[in-house]
Symmetry: C2
């Protein structure tokens, strides 16, 4: 890899992943579709408002999608898109480094 010049695509990706909670949310969703409260269960220190905001951002940039199931009561689940699932190598490499060094 060429590290002699900065790459705007790297910077854009790093800025997405660098936002507080985003790395945690993506990790949770790699485990499959989840309801709002199931995501919260794994990240209890994050406020509802913060999770709502992040999910909207991640939906806008098409990393996650929101599925509404017309049951009674309505069931809403969040899941990664293909673009989002392809972040798995990033999440795995952070996990691996964390296990070794943290």
């Amino acid at each position: 890899m060429d590290y002699s010049t900065m790459c705007p695509k790297y910077e854009a990706a790093a800025d997405i992943l660098g936002k507080k909670w985003t790395g945690r949310i993506i990790r949770v969703l790699l485990g499959g579709p989840k309801r709002f409260k199931e995501i919260k269960e794994q990240i209890p220190e994050m406020s509802d408002k913060m999770l709502t905001d992040r999910m909207k951002e991640l939906e806008t940039i098409t990393i996650i999608k929101r599925q509404v199931y017309p049951e009674m009561p309505v069931r809403i689940e969040y899941e990664l898109t293909g673009k989002g699932r392809e972040l798995e190598p990033v999440i795995e490499s952070i996990q691996k480094w964390g296990e070794q060094w943290m």
Copy 2:
């Protein structure tokens, strides 16, 4: 990988990498030891103060080390430690995802 519970080591690693500029600084240093102004050249929009602060933090957590060469004038270079270099798979996977999706 088990995504059913959050991992504190993952969270700690994600918090380090999630700090503004850190991902860019590590990418630059994967290119080898660099002086302060060489790092700045690749990240011109970052202030001197911000770079100074980040370098101190990264030195404290032993991701980078500061080498002082007693020349005239003194030459100071920053380089990744072993712990820091092992972040290369993380940086590479972000780069790869960025190239595909950004």
